[in-house]
Subunit: 160 residues, 10 copies
């Protein structure tokens, strides 16, 4: 299976270390799975780090630097800084894979809201106190299924 690379037409929207990380990852032949295991983090979180959408801890930087052979000082300052999130791609998404996720929100948004409200009350599922993961399942008929889990803290609206 080939590795995910960074499309050159995306780099102007991303922090400069994104390109360095993707290049080093390709050269070392490492999957996000392998890097995630090394960092003790979720794969999606690690990919988000590569796209500049998440903050790295000092330990993350140490491990990434060691594993990928990227000089610590080339990435530490920006990666442990404060990400400017939300700019990796256009919305609505034009990429078919990402569009499917958008379509789920479009089609089931109010259904989620109704179910959430009845189960939890008036509030939201946080996208900040939040984690997510991706899993692969094989059904009995041999077909392959993708499973995304979204887990967020429930925040009730304050009464004031």
């Amino acid at each position: 299976m080939p590795l995910a690379t960074l499309d050159s037409s995306m780099t102007s929207r991303l922090p400069s270390y994104s390109q360095s990380l993707f290049d080093a990852k390709s050269q070392k032949g490492l999957t996000f799975e392998a890097i995630a295991q090394h960092l003790g983090r979720e794969e999606v979180a690690v990919a988000a780090l590569f796209y500049g959408q998440a903050q790295a801890s000092e330990a993350d930087v140490d491990k990434l630097s060691g594993l990928l052979g990227v000089p610590r000082e080339a990435i530490a300052a920006q990666m442990t800084g404060f990400p400017d999130r939300g700019r990796a791609g256009p919305m609505p998404p034009v990429e078919p894979l990402i569009y499917r996720l958008y379509e789920i929100v479009q089609n089931y948004g109010y259904a989620y809201k109704a179910v959430f409200n009845e189960k939890f009350g008036d509030g939201i599922m946080s996208a900040i106190c939040f984690s997510t993961k991706v899993e692969k399942e094989t059904a009995e008929d041999g077909s392959t299924w993708a499973v995304i889990t979204l887990r967020g803290k429930w925040l009730p609206f304050s009464r004031f």
Copy 2:
């Protein structure tokens, strides 16, 4: 906990049976959880039925009609027909709960894509051969967490 109702300002975007179903549900004091159990379907799917975003089987109609006391003929034709999906609300969502889901796609879209591609190859997670559910968890510190599971068939791009 109060029940989800249908905001009157939404009805013009939805099929006419939506209002009837929500009204009957309120009158009977039924949650989506109770209705879902009665129908043997997921809560989100049942809420989607109420918003006109999913197709009902003949058996669903029978059970809904019985449980809610809505005349079968008032809802059967349209509910077992072909939903005109995607119109329950605006995109980007203005409702905070639904916006959080949109934000997850915005922030993690390319991270999901990278992880999916490395795990599954070039393709998409289907939003059609797809199911979803909502669960409630209580953490050790007593805090409440919402968990959404998205499960879709993996579809590789055809080679042609």
Copy 3:
């Protein structure tokens, strides 16, 4: 000073009880300040209730019903239900007063982010665990100043 009324061209975007509440408020000649005092809530919260942007407790409904002379059953179900927020007006706002608030976000958004990040770390100020109030000040030179306070819980991004 006249009372705030509901522009008839807005009603189609709001729940049906909005009009009833505004009408009763006008007839009783009550300010939001008076109603807020009666309910023990903030003025902005009470106005948000009137626009269908916040949830009422059972006690709120009791007090509102009594104070305004609106039959409890005409408003209780929807007001204690789950608001469909975010639809009171267009964004960007066309109303000059509301536009000024939007402009503050536009002009100072990244400045707030930089200051927040340095003071609090990587996270957001919640708009859900949140309260707000409006105050009036008179400066020494006799000029009048408006003060808005926004107070939200700080939510650090989860590490996962």
Copy 4:
């Protein structure tokens, strides 16, 4: 706590001195709080200066130049000139922290208007004769809260 830095993908929208100031700030290890104290200005105002969204006085330039070690002539002309405001980021904001502020305007805009109108009459809160500050509070339960204060002169609509 790390310092706020300037995402390289933002620089094309900002005046050229922004990058120099952020770089010097990082090298000197200075927070906006420290710089604000040195300048006798609010933190948000100083961050706005760095993003090119506010005008510097001659004294500001002197102090900034001294504190940060940036040659006066490299920044004086543009910083004491007339900012071209409003271009630091897209609207609606895609950054989660900034989006929350936008959401407050979206959800409570008409509530603010109604309360303002009843308290002050027909007019607006100026975003020009205006100041703002950010504070950090710790609640009794140890949780952290962010407080933004917006203070603007009240401008009644002229009668003509």
Copy 5:
């Protein structure tokens, strides 16, 4: 010269008294000039009143009611209330006359800013502490010219 009337396709965007006022004006055969003289206000201000874009004083309502033969109580509450401004038409304008004004802002916006900044400093011309009028001039060659005057208080940006 015919009188300005209200296009029926606009009424849903305007307060309900707009239609009554325009109808009465037509029936009485009154121009905005005549009404403005009667009210002692500018023509543009009076037309703005008719479109629900400006606030009427009690005296304005008395005079309008008398002049137009509209019952005072049919218009007083809403007209002396707080206008929900900015919704008379779409932006960018599709009406050619209004588009020309928009085009002036588009073409000369930065030129105005540069000249204002040099003449007045860092600030804005208020659109709230503001008046405007329209005049008709005949040039020596007999051609007709329209003159719009915009007069707004200069508001310097606060230093904070």
Copy 6:
């Protein structure tokens, strides 16, 4: 008072001579007022020339070249050519000063139309056969006011 300069983030939208003219103007320490006097044109027209929004005559180029010390041949061809108007900034404007002008069109557009139509008939005020100027007034109470005059030829719709 500082001089207006050209924000570097704007140059890609403007003709190449804009930067040269602004630079020379700064170096010579000249205001638009001084240059306008030298050219015998209105300040706004001269600023529009600098932003590439108006056409220069041969005499304008001679005088500008002499006054600013910019070689004639560096600017003559493009400045006496045909401007590609309307691209100096985004619409709706994000700059607060320019937004206020836009807001005037948004709020008073239909009021202007009604008054114009009654005074002039069915037509438009030209934005081409057009001039504009900016003036500064000091009111009796010492406050400063900005006055913009827009003067355009009245063009009646042709009957065909």
Copy 7:
């Protein structure tokens, strides 16, 4: 050949007389060509009258009323009033016939500008002092061609 009728889904965007005129035209079986001949005006102008995009003279109303059998008083006031132009349909057009005209502007806009500028100087072709007509031609090979002529007064930009 059938007659042009008014799609019922358009009527809410048009003045109320539009429907009456189209209905009467259908009942009388009259083409725009016939009506235009009767009024001594161009076909496009007459169709524009029907869509509320042009002003009728008193004589037009007399002739229309007579020819179509519509009571004069039902249409006179609005038709001789001031049209609120530009709202017959969305832009970009979704109707294929109208889209082709839009596409011509999109593809050849700058080519027209370059040719106009060289032939006429710096200015515009007026869309107000303007007439247009549609003609039908049959080529030698029997194919049918449509010819639109646009004729507008040339307006040079004023020097000020």
Copy 8:
């Protein structure tokens, strides 16, 4: 009369030969009229060639190369290739001259459609089997008029 030149801020949207052609045209002092005569094509078509909106024949390239002194091989491949049309400028147009054409489509679109339908049936005027020209007329009163002719093949909708 000056020649049309290429605004440098447009070049990134156009094929690379556009700049070369405009530069050579300026150096030779040739109008589009002169070039059109040399090529035996319409002026608008030639200007469209310069903007990369039309395809050149081999003979066009020969003649252009000779007349303008541009090496054949620098322009032949791209100019005789397949234009990527529609990108010369934004829509809606911000350039006043081009906007007027857009406004004609906006105001008269449905009028054209109604007249076309009655004269030709259900179909469109092709923008592909299409030619256009610009002419200059002087009216009796000495005023100057621009005339655009659009001639397109009539294409009836297929019945299937």
Copy 9:
């Protein structure tokens, strides 16, 4: 298999006969396939007739009227008139089935263009001189495939 019905939330965008036709079709229990066979037209064309996106011949109306039991005079005038196309739904489509077609244009648009240009030259495939059909195929492995054929006349760009 249920029949396609008309979602009530769509009717305001469609001509009034759409609802009548869909209702009659449901009552008679007729598929588009059966109706198409009766009319001797393609299924897609017939469905387009029902949505008001295509013109009916007199014979179509006769046959439809007879088959569906809808009075001829209730539908003849509008159905044989000139459709106002392109308004059945929003673009980009929110309905998943229709979005997939849009996505094909988005993903393969330039690939189609390149292949068309090399095979046919500089031109377009007409969407007017055009037909389309839908077929169902069963693959060897029992899976079901949908096949859409688009057939349009090739129109080369005119040389002028």
Copy 10:
């Protein structure tokens, strides 16, 4: 017939190998048809590869490298990686050829949906398990027709 080339104004949206492939193709004088035959793939698929909208197999890269004389290592990594689809051009398309395909979706989208639903049930035609081809036909009257075939797997909505 000339070959399709890559417009230089598009390259920033495409992966870097696109330009290399198009250049080599031009130099070798190869059509997409010839390349497709060499690769044993459809022409549209090969053009999509060139635009970075499809994934290449190792064998594709070998053959392309050999046929076009492009070093294998310059293109292998990115071409066998995971395309970032959907960014070749704007939507709605401005290119006339691509717009016609968009218009077909706009005009016939709901007709396709109705026919698909009746023939296949509630689901979609996949754009992923999908192939497409372009053919050229000559009608009896000598006219040229383009035929596009879209073939996608039918995916029924899951019941959950």
